[in-house]
């Protein structure tokens, strides 16, 4: 068989797999590095709190009166709280609770949202219509208000908070996945797979879904940030666990309200912690989006 000469098989200059390419761009982005550092700090604090914390989180370790709450010192870096507990220890342990609440509620919300989105995107037609109207209804209520409602309905407690945040995030993921899948469904490679006789289920699960997941990963990272903020917000409003020994950042903020004039730093430290955690995930998510978006490919 004589064919015209074949162009040489060589990886293009842009080279590497899609993932490697994204990874390279991520590493070169200072914003991504900053985000990653904050996230690592937060996760390390959460995981290592029992070993890093110098004092027990739930026991008074110093003398305090409502009028004299000692500020930062060599023994107590962040000072003591209103019940004489070490503030630094409590902020560290708070990272633990925030991470657990954030991750669990994210996973729950993502699972529910992806399931809804998959149904809508794979079947279309009236299934799509019903699912998307449901999603529209959920999205029409402001997020935190919706979460408060759900949490209040379920009764207070950490479970209620996690489920409430998950429910609020579900429609976001459902809409995102559905949109991605619809776009992929019209693509040529799906048509090509249909032409060579690939079955519908395999086309949806093997081609459309994997190619629709990239923005979901980005959204997941960003959602983790809002989940942490929402969890703190719910706790601040008293919708979290009733157990005062659980050091939860939002709750710590609420508890120090009364001492805002005498010991303002007690509000600053948990507040900063919330900002650091949320900022870390937001920066990381945004730079992930840039790295994975083909529009930024060079």
């Amino acid at each position: 068989m004589s064919l015209a000469q074949v162009e040489t098989v060589a990886p293009e200059e842009a080279g590497g797999s899609l993932g490697r390419d994204a990874w390279r761009r991520l590493r070169r982005n200072p914003v991504a590095i900053a985000g990653a550092v904050l996230v690592v700090l937060f996760v390390a604090a959460a995981l290592l709190a029992p070993w890093l914390a110098p004092y027990p989180p739930d026991k008074p370790v110093g003398q305090v009166t409502p009028t004299s709450i000692p500020g930062p010192s060599a023994e107590h870096w962040f000072g003591l709280d209103d019940l004489g507990r070490d503030e630094f220890t409590r902020v560290l342990w708070g990272a633990r609770w925030s991470l657990v609440i954030g991750v669990v509620s994210l996973l729950l919300g993502m699972a529910g949202g992806l399931l809804l989105g998959l149904l809508a995107g794979a079947f279309g037609g009236w299934v799509d219509g019903v699912v998307m109207r449901l999603v529209d209804m959920m999205l029409s209520v402001p997020g935190l208000l919706f979460a408060i409602g759900v949490a209040a309905m379920l009764g207070s407690g950490l479970d209620a908070v996690m489920i409430a945040i998950a429910v609020v995030n579900m429609p976001v993921f459902a809409r995102l996945l559905r949109g991605q899948m619809l776009a992929q469904r019209r693509s040529d490679y799906v048509l090509a797979a249909t032409a060579v006789g690939v079955r519908r289920r395999r086309i949806v699960l093997g081609h459309i879904l994997p190619n629709s997941l990239t923005p979901v990963i980005v959204q997941g990272t960003l959602t983790l940030a809002t989940a942490i903020v929402d969890a703190a917000g719910l706790a601040f409003l008293g919708l979290s666990s009733n157990d005062p020994s659980i050091p939860e950042w939002g709750r710590m903020l609420a508890d120090t309200q009364r001492y805002l004039s005498s010991a303002p730093l007690l509000a600053v430290f948990p507040g900063l912690a919330i900002i650091v955690a949320a900022l870390g995930f937001t920066l990381l998510g945004e730079s992930l989006r840039e790295a994975l978006d083909p529009k930024y490919r060079r």
Binding site: L18, D188, Y189
Partner: protein
């Protein structure tokens, strides 16, 4: 591309009651008794399309959507494609030629009309039957990169059709065989689409299309997304494969040069309908339909002296919207040969004016005889232009 009688035809699509039984080896099915070796020289066409229409509804309104009209992408097309032949389908972009190709495979659901493949009506087949039937007719896509899943290795792209149709043989051997057929090294199997050049990607797409030993391949603008230097390679590859595998092609293109080179018969489409159909050489020697005449006059002639005297007909205006197809002859709004009678109010049938040639024009004979001249300024000042276009 001459009508090659391929070495051994793969089995024709299952007809009638053979459904349900999975083929033991879908790639090398023995030819049915009576089918013999190769196609009958002038038997029934492999593909026969009758009155095919694809209309897409145009919806208006926010809450209560109502159908405000139809995009008549394909609006009643009849055509026959003989075995081993190449049927070229040309026309401006947006004339419905790609949709026609997809509708034949029922990748786009036709609104009306019938498609007979090997004598079997493809309309009304269940999705599962259609899925099985499609292995006899495959498609090559315009944009090779878009037609390949970015997350799929070449090996996976090529084994997917085999797995889908229960091929039990040695898959990796078949992959190497396919890569060899399309002129790619066997090392390509482990690579991903973005690692290849455009021409190589199209080779992968072609390898996928021939993986199941189909009889018919519909190539939708197979080279238009490629560099000119690569186009010839892909065209040659398609021709070689036709010879080796006894394929029948429908090649959709807007590039008249490509189509002329590969086609035995050419159909010219305008606004969703065929306006002319003729053997390739005859069409280029003397186009009969005004639209074809205008298209041909736009091809530069590689001879400076002839080029100098080339009379170029410029079509006025844009392609009318396929939602609002002009009444009468659909070309009359832009036709330089338009006559005051019949053109605007009577739909011309696609009729055989001479053996083997079909034209949908009331005045085809008169135009061919030179009795009707292109109107210079008769209806529109810019309708024709005599001179030397410099481009």
């Amino acid at each position: 591309m001459s009508a090659s009688t391929g070495p051994s035809r793969p089995d024709p699509p299952e007809r009638g009651a053979t459904s349900g039984s999975p083929e033991s080896d879908p790639l090398r099915g023995s030819p049915e008794a009576g089918q013999g070796n190769g196609p009958a020289p002038s038997g029934e066409p492999l593909l026969s399309v009758r009155g095919l229409k694809v209309h897409f509804p145009v919806r208006r309104g926010v809450l209560l959507q109502r159908v405000a009209g139809h995009v008549r992408a394909v609006d009643g097309v009849d055509l026959d494609v003989a075995r081993g032949m190449t049927y070229g389908l040309v026309g401006e972009s947006g004339c419905g030629k790609s949709t026609l190709g997809k509708a034949v495979l029922r990748l786009v659901e036709p609104t009306a009309g019938t498609v007979l493949f090997n004598g079997a009506d493809l309309g009304g087949q269940s999705p599962e039957r259609m899925r099985r039937l499609r292995r006899h007719m495959q498609m090559v896509f315009q944009d090779p990169l878009a037609s390949l899943d970015p997350r799929q290795s070449v090996e996976s792209v090529l084994t997917e059709p085999l797995r889908a149709h229960g091929f039990t043989g040695d898959r990796s051997r078949r992959v190497r065989e396919l890569l060899d057929l399309v002129g790619l090294p066997s090392g390509a199997a482990g690579r991903y689409p973005h690692e290849f050049s455009g021409g190589q990607r199209q080779r992968i797409g072609i390898a996928r299309a021939i993986a199941l030993n189909p009889e018919l391949i519909i190539a939708d603008e197979p080279v238009s997304a490629l560099d000119v230097s690569i186009q010839a390679q892909i065209v040659n590859l398609l021709e070689d494969l036709q010879e080796q595998l006894g394929l029948t092609y429908v090649v959709v293109a807007h590039d008249l040069a490509v189509v002329r080179h590969v086609s035995d018969v050419i159909g010219v489409m305008y606004l969703g309908a065929l306006v002319e159909e003729a053997p390739s050489d005859a069409l280029y020697a003397q186009p009969l339909h005004p639209y074809t005449i205008a298209l041909m006059s736009a091809i530069p002639i590689p001879d400076p002296e002839v080029e100098e005297r080339r009379r170029r007909i410029l079509l006025v205006g844009d392609l009318p919207s396929p939602v609002d197809v002009p009444p009468g002859c659909r070309f009359h709004t832009r036709c330089p040969f338009r006559r005051p009678t019949r053109c605007a109010d009577e739909v011309p049938a696609l009729r055989e004016t001479r053996p083997g040639r079909k034209v949908a024009c009331h005045w085809a004979e008169e135009i061919a005889a030179g009795a009707v001249r292109a109107a210079a300024g008769a209806h529109d000042p810019a309708a024709t232009e005599v001179g030397t276009p410099s481009s």
